[in-house]
């Protein structure tokens, strides 16, 4: 705390001391609770499986992604299955750009990003600056004040607010842009943000695009998995639990098959019926109370 006061506001801050990070670069809040031996053996199995996946994926997308379109058109079901098994972390940056079609946007608009960053001004600049230090403050890349992470994040958000003036800057975009910046360059991240927010869904994405439904499916799967624990909690504890799901619930190999098996439309109809049935009951109990009151 003492040190911080001495540093000029406009100088990059000090390099933070080394703290344990998780595999995505977030500072760990507490020491991992999984026993050493178990974690290690699981890690080896995962490592081997990941290596096989990477090999398959490299073959599928070709050098620099050249074979992607051809493959996706010829064998969409294989692509879909492999995406659902998980895109290897080291290839995500590239694959996201291929799937979303943002790579095409980039090639169609040479020099545009630079123009937006350097020459244009945005009405949202102050709003963006105010939020930069509040975006992933516990991530090693974004932690340093005015460091490379924060500068890239600012550039991408400012460029987007100019590119899409109707929308401008909306809080929350930073978390999206920030995540992309962990996997690719500023310019690539910008065009991927455009593809995601403006829906530049190109031919390769057709048939793969799941829409907002998948978000609900994953959410519902999480609720289903933890149902027995959640249902016992008080309101305050529930709010906390919903943001801190246990590690075993977040295991993609368990969670995702469950998510895909949930039929949202059908479940919605069932939930609606159940809700109406319960609400009907509630109505009755309040009516009873009214009667009770009147009697006294």
């Amino acid at each position: 705390m003492e040190k911080r006061r001495v540093i000029d506001d406009y100088e990059p801050g000090p390099v933070p001391p080394q703290k344990p990070l998780d595999r995505f670069g977030f500072i760990k809040q507490d020491a991992s609770s999984t026993p050493e031996g178990l974690a290690k053996s699981r890690l080896i199995v995962e490592y081997e499986r990941e290596a096989i996946r990477v090999r398959k994926w490299r073959k599928m997308i070709g050098v620099g992604g050249n074979d992607w379109k051809h493959y996706a058109r010829r064998k969409p079901h294989v692509v879909k299955r492999r995406i659902r098994k998980g895109i290897p972390d080291c290839l995500r940056g590239l694959v996201w750009q291929l799937i979303s079609g943002s790579r095409d946007l980039l090639l169609l608009n040479p020099g545009v990003y630079e123009q937006l960053v350097i020459y244009e001004t945005s009405a949202s600049e102050l709003d963006i600056i105010r939020d930069i230090s509040r975006t992933f403050p516990s991530h090693v890349f974004f932690q340093q004040r005015h460091g490379p992470g924060q500068r890239s994040l600012y550039n991408v958000l400012k460029a987007y607010s100019v590119f899409d003036r109707d929308v401008g800057y909306v809080q929350g975009m930073g978390f999206l842009a920030g995540l992309l910046l962990l996997y690719m360059s500023e310019e690539d991240a910008f065009w991927l943000l455009v593809a995601l927010l403006k829906g530049a869904i190109h031919a390769p994405m057709e048939g793969l695009y799941q829409g907002v439904k998948i978000v609900f499916k994953v959410g519902l799967a999480l609720l289903k998995y933890c149902h027995n624990d959640l249902i016992k909690l008080s309101f305050e504890k529930l709010v906390h639990a919903l943001r801190n799901f246990p590690e075993d619930a977040m295991d993609p190999d368990t969670l995702l098959p469950m998510a895909f098996s949930i039929k949202v439309s059908r479940s919605l109809a069932e939930s609606k019926n159940e809700y109406e049935k319960q609400n009907g009951k509630l109505m009755k109990s309040t009516e009873l109370m009214e009667v009770h009151k009147q009697l006294h």
Partner: protein, 211 residues
Amino acid sequence: MSYAYLFKYIIIGDTGVGKSCLLLQFTDKRFQPVHDLTIGVEFGARMITIENKPIKLQIWDTAGQESFRSITRSYYRGAAGALLVYDITRRETFNHLASWLEDARQHANANMTVMLIGNKCDLSHRRAVSTEEGEQFAKEHGLIFMEASAKTAQNVEEAFISTAEKIYKKIQDGVIDISNESYGIKIGHETHTTSSGGRDGTSSQAGSCCS
């Protein structure tokens, strides 16, 4: 924990005025200079005591940016108290107060108690809104007023508690109908068990749940 009453609060005001920091200072007694920006809504709770009665404050903290107004508006419903916050170092956050009050008038119940807070009063060297202006605005609109600092904790406790005292008085005076939940007040199950100890709300089985 059992309580005599539960009051629902909402914290509103422009982005970056320190809403989440006020909440954290009140619930956890700490100041966090770097924290995630609020998307949508956050939540906090704490017990306080008024006239020897345990009262639970259930506080909803909202996102300040204009784009989120459609979401935050739905949280006015059933709020007994509101903390309307501006930043004394940023004039525009004071200028927007009228539009926040307009929102509150439209979406909250007419008896909601509103506390106006000029936050960041530790930064008096960068002050852009005088204390008198804050007082004047509060007087004109019938609000309680305080300048506070989430950083130094000055007046934070007081702001939350005097809002609760005002609500409590409204209950005593019969201005608020506590059987009507749209006023943002719930009655606890075990009102007079504070001295007996060892018991908590879980043993009670009266109708309404989730509290």
